[in-house]
């Protein structure tokens, strides 16, 4: 089964950002303040309503609303027909952005749609950024370079989101957008209405041969795997000489689609299908007013089909040209003919979602049959998994886990072997991996929110790393500011009468592991000599193979100047002073940094101070502890590279390779188009 957890979150919009999910790892790329905007456009009927209710009444009644889709701001009234209520935040969401975004129901969870969505959000964010930073209407300079604006986006989320996983937006290739509406320019003899979603035969037919056709604004992206759209015949005119299909760019538009080379269509007057020739073939029933005709291409099988009023009519064309970009196209010939298109903005009549599910399931079944033993002989599946996990744990410095895992696997196979001689687990003893231990120390320090300690360790163990990775150094420094702000906020709410501290972003939970040792942290005020000395001692302990000794250092080496124990006694004012002092230092240290990202990040973290209660503010996600993970992992990766190791473990490599291969298989609409590695295999 496919896990499509995202359905709810896409549809629910704002709700998604607050719903607690244990393994929710990639924060919504959309900043919370953007969410309402988005949901306004997206929480429309197709969030749950399915195409399985062929309600033709809706089409007749609803068509007068179609125009509002294009503008995106208003909710069509028929949404309330289905019990959907506007959440009120959608209105006017698209100020300044003349573009809508929607995900057709059958493409929810599709990797291609995710990419389009990310790109869209980046554009919206850039627009907003531009608006807010250049509110002066006279300033034209701001709009000049969209490239720069794109750059701002990743930096903006730099502190808070999982930066490691995604390349900055400006590196991202262009992804083929979906058809959104009929093209205003790519048409002949038609009148466009309802923001490009309705077409009507325009004027009189000059000669008997002339038809009037139109293509959509964008081609059907092969990366979708299947593309499908529906056309409602608002009026068939006199003869119903209407063609629904697709064609390549440049195909003459004074002819009905299907008649010309590089065009394919299903015609209403005779029910024939036309494949690049005026000679039709009997295919389906005729169609006329109020009928809903669907047209779909499966790019994997390279075939096309049509539907009528939700009923599948079978494959119409095979071996469709692979080299061409194909556009949805309709054509008509007589006055009075009038069509309305649905490119996925509203629910479909035909159960295209079901077809998509079947297609995905078929591919999933094929994947399930893959013979894993061939990947890394002589290891069988279990042995390979054990190796991958053990190597990952060691590589990424999860020293204690690696030890525990090796122990449990060994115990298991011993029990199983029972005198038998089948045990083939590689001995994996991470005890002598000092780097692993050190890296884990640094990671834990960051995860604990103790940036000073992490900096100190890193400088001592891997002096080159911070020098050579200035951006990580900068992120750590910013992280420290955020941690100080967090402490301040926590103290604030602790002092408040109704305190529910430690529940939201608190340190208390994230530090739980330390308390499990049952030792109270010892606070030592020491100078660097002591620290170095301590470190040597510690290293010796590790050399001697003492397991778990490294924790001792953590115990004794609590934060030199902002220990939690004393921090609680401190007056809030002191924290505030410190926060400002440190902020000023930060600003001074990086004031000469020419990069725009740097300034952006600084501005956004300084914004924390501006809010009386940050947790209720638009920047609250800055305080989310998940930000620590990203920084910790980035630093860990840099250290690995400095040690001459691959920055990714074999398991990561396997993920990377899988995704790269799937991408290769998706580009031309192959089976990869039906796979979303992360959604289908990681979550």
């Amino acid at each position: 089964m496919f896990r499509r957890s995202s359905y709810a979150s896409v549809a629910a919009g704002t709700a998604a950002s607050t719903s607690p999910q244990p393994f929710q790892s990639r924060p919504n790329t959309l900043s919370p303040m953007m969410n309402p905007t988005y949901s306004g456009a997206n929480s429309l009927p197709y969030s749950t309503h399915h195409s399985r209710h062929p309600s033709r009444g809706m089409d007749v009644e609803g068509h007068h609303n179609a125009g509002s889709w294009g503008r995106g701001g208003q909710l069509p009234s028929y949404s309330s027909q289905y019990g959907y209520s506007s959440n009120g935040s959608g209105g006017g969401a698209y100020d300044g952005l003349h573009e809508t975004f929607f995900i057709p129901s059958y493409l929810r969870g599709s990797r291609h749609m995710e990419r389009l969505e990310e790109a869209y959000k980046a554009r919206v964010a850039a627009q907003r950024e531009m608006k807010s930073s250049h509110s002066n209407p006279g300033s034209l300079s701001a709009s000049s370079s969209s490239v720069n604006l794109h750059k701002m986006v990743p930096s903006h989320r730099g502190m808070t989101h999982d930066i490691i996983e995604r390349a900055p937006a400006h590196n991202e290739p262009k992804y083929a957008p979906l058809p959104m509406r009929w093209s205003e320019s790519d048409m002949v003899g038609l009148e466009l209405q309802a923001d490009g979603l309705e077409v009507r035969f325009g004027g009189s037919s000059k000669t008997h041969d002339d038809a009037a056709s139109i293509r959509a604004d964008h081609c059907m992206p092969r990366q979708c795997g299947i593309y499908y759209y529906e056309v409602t015949v608002v009026s068939k005119g006199k003869e119903g000489l209407i063609g629904v299909g697709f064609s390549a760019k440049g195909v003459p538009l004074n002819r009905l689609p299907g008649w010309e080379p590089r065009s394919w269509a299903y015609h209403g007057d005779d029910g024939y299908s036309f494949c690049q020739t005026a000679q039709g073939k009997a295919y389906g029933p005729k169609f006329s007013t109020t009928d809903v005709i669907g047209c779909g291409i499966n790019f994997r099988t390279n075939s096309a089909f049509f539907t009528k009023n939700g009923i599948y009519l079978g494959t119409a064309f095979k071996d469709i040209l692979k080299e061409e970009d194909l556009y949805p196209s309709v054509g008509m010939k007589k006055p009075g003919e009038h069509l309305r298109v649905n490119f996925g903005q509203s629910p479909f009549i035909f159960d295209i979602d079901g077809m998509m599910r079947q297609e995905k399931k078929m591919i999933q079944d094929e994947i399930n049959k893959a013979d894993v033993a061939s990947l890394h002989p002589p290891l069988d599946e279990t042995a390979l998994i054990h190796e991958l996990i053990a190597q990952y744990l060691a590589h990424d410095g999860y020293v204690e886990t690696a030890r525990a895992f090796a122990h449990e696997v060994r115990a298991e196979s011993q029990a199983l072997a029972n005198g038998n001689t089948n045990a083939t687990i590689k001995e994996l003893d991470p005890a002598d991996d000092i780097d692993g231990v050190n890296r884990q120390r640094i990671r834990m320090a960051i995860l604990d929110g103790d940036v000073d300690k992490a900096l100190k360790y890193t400088k001592s163990f891997y002096p080159r790393v911070l020098r050579e990775n200035e951006n990580i150094y900068f992120k750590l420094k910013c992280c420290k500011f955020v941690e100080m702000a967090r402490r301040f906020v926590e103290q604030q709410s602790a002092n408040a009468p109704s305190s529910n501290r430690a529940t939201s972003n608190g340190n208390a939970t994230s530090n739980g592991h330390r308390n499990q040792n049952g030792k109270a942290p010892v606070i030592n005020d020491y100078d660097d000599d002591v620290f170095d000395h301590q470190m040597e001692l510690d290293d010796q302990l590790i050399h001697n193979g003492g397991s778990g000794d490294w924790e001792r250092m953590d115990m004794e080496d609590s934060q030199p100047h902002e220990s939690r124990a004393t921090g609680e006694k401190e007056q809030q004012g002191d924290l505030m002073v410190e926060l400002f002092k440190y902020g000023a230092e930060l600003k001074t240290e990086f004031k000469d940094d020419p990069r725009r990202e740097t300034k952006q990040t600084l501005d956004s973290i300084f914004a924390i101070i501006a809010y009386p209660d940050v947790r209720e503010s638009p920047v609250n996600q800055l305080l989310d502890v998940s930000g620590r993970v990203a920084v910790a992992e980035e630093l860990n990766g840099a250290i690995l590279v400095s040690l001459g190791k691959s920055s990714s473990a074999a398991l990561e490599r396997l993920c990377q390779q899988s995704e790269a291969l799937v991408n290769e298989l998706a580009g031309d609409g192959g089976p990869g188009a039906f796979i979303n590695v992360r959604k289908d295999f990681l979550l």
Binding site: A167, V372, H407, T424, Q657, E664, L665, I675
Partner: protein, 271 residues
């Protein structure tokens, strides 16, 4: 950081072997950044699904994962797995029924597999000593398995094959028969039981990492079948040496050797 790595990468590549097409794909691979959080959750999922409670607990601490599932459920499954691995099928069946009697009631094939395993263990006990008493095994076969066998042809065939163990001397069993005494059968049954329990609890039957590995195998095969361009002849995982992909890239020819050497390194453990 990215720049540094790319320089390193390109540097190595130009020194090393390979045609330029190789690097196109490698670079695409490099550009994909799976989130650590995702990978950690895959690891955690495996530890929980397959039942490594201590590792799971430690990992939760080390990686800051706060909620990682129902600990009792893990422990119960581990106890059942241990019982099966140790050949104590009786207690495994009891434990499964304590957990949820419907699991075996609804899956007669799994129930039969367990009972047959129990028979094999009884036979193992009595044939391991000369003149061992085969009565317990026979009684068990007639009372527990024989009544179920007629319901299903596979059951019958399995039972007949198992009974043959009593007849032939243990030293010269034919491979299919010897396979019944191999510990891998215990492992198989234990895996099936684990999956059945997970399914009964409405969880994913299989750990995610298994699907991921299958995806990797399938996608490479499919890409080669489809003639995807720029695909290196091999896509090493970097599992064999610490240095990872860089090394495997530079020493591609030597890698096969590496693997055999690694196999050799395992040998001491496989007397």
């Amino acid at each position: 950081m990215a720049a540094t790595r790319r320089e390193r990468f390109l540097g190595k590549a130009s020194v090393g072997l390979g045609t330029s097409t190789r690097h196109v794909f490698e670079r695409r691979v490099e550009e994909i950044k799976p989130s650590k959080t995702d990978i950690n959750s895959v690891i955690m999922d495996y530890l929980i699904t397959e039942g490594y409670p201590h590792a799971a607990k430690t990992f939760a601490m080390e990686s800051n994962i706060q909620n990682y599932g129902d600990r009792d459920s893990i422990e119960q499954r581990v106890a059942i797995r241990k019982a099966i691995h140790a050949g104590d099928i009786q207690s495994a069946i009891e434990k499964i029924n304590d957990l949820n009697p419907q699991i075996l009631d609804h899956d007669s094939s799994l129930h039969f597999a367990l009972l047959r395993l129990q028979l094999i263990e009884l036979i193992r006990t009595c044939t391991s000593t000369p003149n061992g008493d085969i009565t317990p095994a026979l009684t068990f076969a007639t009372t527990q398995l024989a009544p179920r066998a007629p319901t299903n042809d596979t059951f019958l065939a399995d039972l007949e094959k198992t009974m043959a163990l009593l007849i032939f001397p243990r030293e010269n069993l034919s491979p299919p028969l010897a396979g019944l005494l191999d510990s891998s059968l215990r492992q198989q049954v234990a895996t099936r039981v684990n999956e059945a329990i997970l399914l009964s609890q409405g969880k994913d039957r299989e750990a995610k990492i298994k699907g991921l590995i299958k995806l990797r195998v399938w996608s490479e095969q499919k890409a080669r079948d489809n003639g995807v361009k720029d695909l290196p002849s091999r896509l090493p995982l970097g599992l064999d040496d610490e240095v990872g992909m860089e090394a495997s890239e530079e020493e591609e020819e030597e890698e096969d050797e590496d693997e055999t050497m690694n196999g050799g390194a395992d040998d001491p453990m496989v007397p």
